[in-house]
């Protein structure tokens, strides 16, 4: 694939002034060079825009009930139709998308950070630190996450979105931390890490300066995968009524309610389901292209 004119000019200019293009810029250029990456990013941006700016232009809010329209198909006043209660499906879907996207991003950041810290400390220090941390990881792997989250759902009542996201993140870091641990063990043997150690740089600083940057590509990809994992877990929990609690809504709760009426009132099911599928698809596309863009062995964008 040939580079677009301006991009080529930019790189030529960089080379002329003796600067090396920064890694971020290289990765970004490669990422946006693929059709998959552009599509995923555009889709995700569009969904965010819709979820957060949409309510500003919508005629109804998610708590409103229109007592003149129960279970009506989409129309000019209710763009996505209404539910049995008279709630506006458009407003509810946007509110659900807000919650699901927020939870997904928050969980991804927290769980990936935990995986990075736990894995790198275990791999760097080995010995008792390693055994203790990995034992905790095994224990959390063996505990059925869904069951624990469901039992704790009364504690996660309305307004405790942050606590809910933290609980979700608690069950998503274990496998990645094991991979990080293995890679840290290898990185620890490299010359520049040894050099830093012999110069007396404290271990914590070595981990943050030298070990974690080496794992950046793995961690970024893991974070994107965790976004969709978190959104899907939240959906499953909400489907059974253990997730985000009423009066607030999430996509999972909407899908659960909608699936009961989907046969004769398709608008109660398909809009929420569609937004969810699009969101997860977009995140997956972004993750896949990011993996290719970060791979140092790969050539330019395909």
């Amino acid at each position: 694939m040939t580079l677009p004119e301006e991009e080529y000019a930019e790189i030529a200019a960089d080379a002329g002034s003796g600067r090396v293009p920064s890694r971020t810029r290289v990765v970004a250029a490669r990422f946006f060079g693929t059709r998959q990456g552009r599509l995923g990013f555009a889709l995700l941006a569009l969904l965010f825009l819709l979820a957060f700016a949409g309510p500003l232009v919508a005629p109804w809010s998610y708590t409103d009930m229109d007592f003149s329209a129960f279970m009506r198909p989409p129309s000019a006043s209710h763009w996505f139709g209404t539910l049995q209660t008279g709630s506006d499906v458009f407003a509810l879907t946007l509110r659900g998308a807000q919650k699901s996207l927020t939870v997904g991003l928050l969980v991804a950041v927290v769980s990936t950070a935990v995986a990075a810290v736990v894995g790198s400390f275990a791999g760097y220090f080995l010995g008792w630190t390693d055994r203790t941390l990995m034992w905790v990881a095994d224990l959390l792997l063996v505990l059925p996450a869904f069951l624990i989250l469901a039992i704790m759902s009364p504690l996660l009542a309305a307004g405790r979105l942050l606590l809910f996201a933290l609980m979700l993140a608690l069950f998503l870091w274990m496998v990645t931390s094991k991979i990080v641990r293995g890679m840290t063990k290898a990185i620890k043997e490299r010359e520049y890490v040894k050099a830093a150690r012999f110069m007396g740089v404290p271990p914590a600083r070595i981990i943050y300066r030298h070990v974690l940057p080496n794992l950046a590509s793995l961690l970024v990809v893991d974070a994107t995968l965790n976004v969709s994992a978190a959104i899907l877990t939240e959906t499953t929990l909400s489907y059974f009524g253990f997730g985000i609690q009423p009066p607030d809504v999430s996509l999972g709760a909407l899908i659960a309610d909608g699936s009961r009426t989907a046969l004769y009132a398709p608008w109660t099911f398909w809009f929420a389901a569609g937004v969810l599928v699009l969101a997860v698809l977009a995140v997956n596309l972004v993750g896949d292209s990011l993996r290719d863009a970060l791979d140092p062995g790969a050539g330019g964008g395909r």
Binding site: V142, L147, I151, Y239, F240, L281
Partner: protein, 327 residues
């Protein structure tokens, strides 16, 4: 090898014990079996409720440690306790495991075999039409949550049944109760019930396994041993199946085993949507009905399933990979 296996088993036993105890404590603290009795109309006298709860070791006025010790003692003797209305937990679990197994085994086998074949075929013709098509399809399937997929299948099946005027697919339960007409009719009835849940389980598996298998296969296709095999006169097809596929299967085996372990309680959605009364459905029901002992039993079962699966993966790994046996 024996020493290594023994140490592993001891470690697993400790993990299961700690995980189950944690789940019991959490359930005993967070769930409220008392409300099941006090919500009744007419409301039973407090002394009666207390006596009932104490009988089943569910009384929240007994200190947690006393309840835990009594429960743990029972579990050590093989007694998992009683549900909140007095049924034996172990009998209930045994019945439900059978249902879940009948539900997931076919879907798992179909899904893993088809997934591996799809992935291997896609890798052999990388960037060919099959590769592109299967990649896109896998992405779409992975993006569709099980809830949506299962409901889509039901909507499609109902539409198809209406169109054909015959009940080709039955969407609820394991079999039609009170059906008579011999073994043949009974079997056909079960197949009709099983078709949709199997498809919904298998589709997800195919999507996941084909992605893994494709990447593993790509890694080994250019390996020296495959090229050597072909240079020595083996046909491409034989070399790919005997050498490349076998090697690429090794990492996938770990995933098979883990999926099997986690699906035993993880098929919650499939069971709920299609109305099968298995472990997954019981998991949700036991939390709704404040059933402390049942929750603990399910966690114990889940831990056991995951660890058995990981042990099985280790053994299979050794069978497929001679290097493991040597070292």
């Amino acid at each position: 090898m024996a020493g290594f296996l023994l140490r592993r088993l001891v470690n697993y036993a400790v993990l299961i014990a700690v995980a189950t105890s944690l789940a019991y404590m959490l359930a005993a603290l967070a769930l409220d079996p008392r409300s099941n009795y006090e919500g009744r109309n007419p409301r039973p006298p407090a002394a009666v409720v207390d006596a009932q709860l104490s009988l089943y070791n569910l009384n929240d006025r007994t200190p947690l440690v006393r309840r835990y010790l009594r429960w743990a003692g029972g579990v050590l003797r093989g007694d998992l306790g009683r549900t909140w209305n007095g049924d034996r937990v172990d009998a209930e679990v045994r019945r439900r495991v059978g249902v879940t197994l009948r539900l997931i085994v076919l879907g798992l086998v179909l899904g893993s075999v088809a997934g591996v074949l799809t992935g291997a075929l896609a890798a052999v013709r990388q960037y060919g039409w099959f590769d592109r098509l299967s990649t896109m399809a896998a992405f779409v399937v992975l993006a569709v949550p099980t809830v949506v997929l299962a409901n889509m299948l039901i909507i499609m099946a109902v539409w198809l049944n209406d169109r054909l005027g015959v009940q080709v697919f039955l969407v609820s339960g394991e079999h039609t109760p009170g059906l008579d007409g011999g073994v043949g009719a009974g079997l056909l009835d079960r197949v009709k019930h099983l078709a949709l849940p199997t498809v919904s389980l298998a589709l997800g598996q195919i999507a996941v396994y084909s992605r893994y298998q494709r990447n593993m296969m790509l890694d080994v296709l250019d390996a020296d041993f495959v090229r050597t095999a072909m240079a020595k006169g083996l046909r491409r097809r034989t070399a790919l199946v005997k050498h490349a596929l076998r090697t690429a299967l090794i990492p996938a085996v770990t995933y098979f085993a883990f999926t099997f372990g986690s699906l035993l309680v993880g098929a919650t959605i499939t069971e709920s949507v299609f109305g099968w009364h298995g472990m997954g459905e019981e998991l949700v029901a036991s939390i709704r009905s404040n059933d402390v002992n049942m929750v603990a039993a399910i966690s114990c079962f889940a831990a056991l399933a995951v660890l058995t699966a990981s042990l099985a993966a280790d053994v299979l790994h050794a069978v497929l990979d001679p290097r493991v046996r040597v070292s």
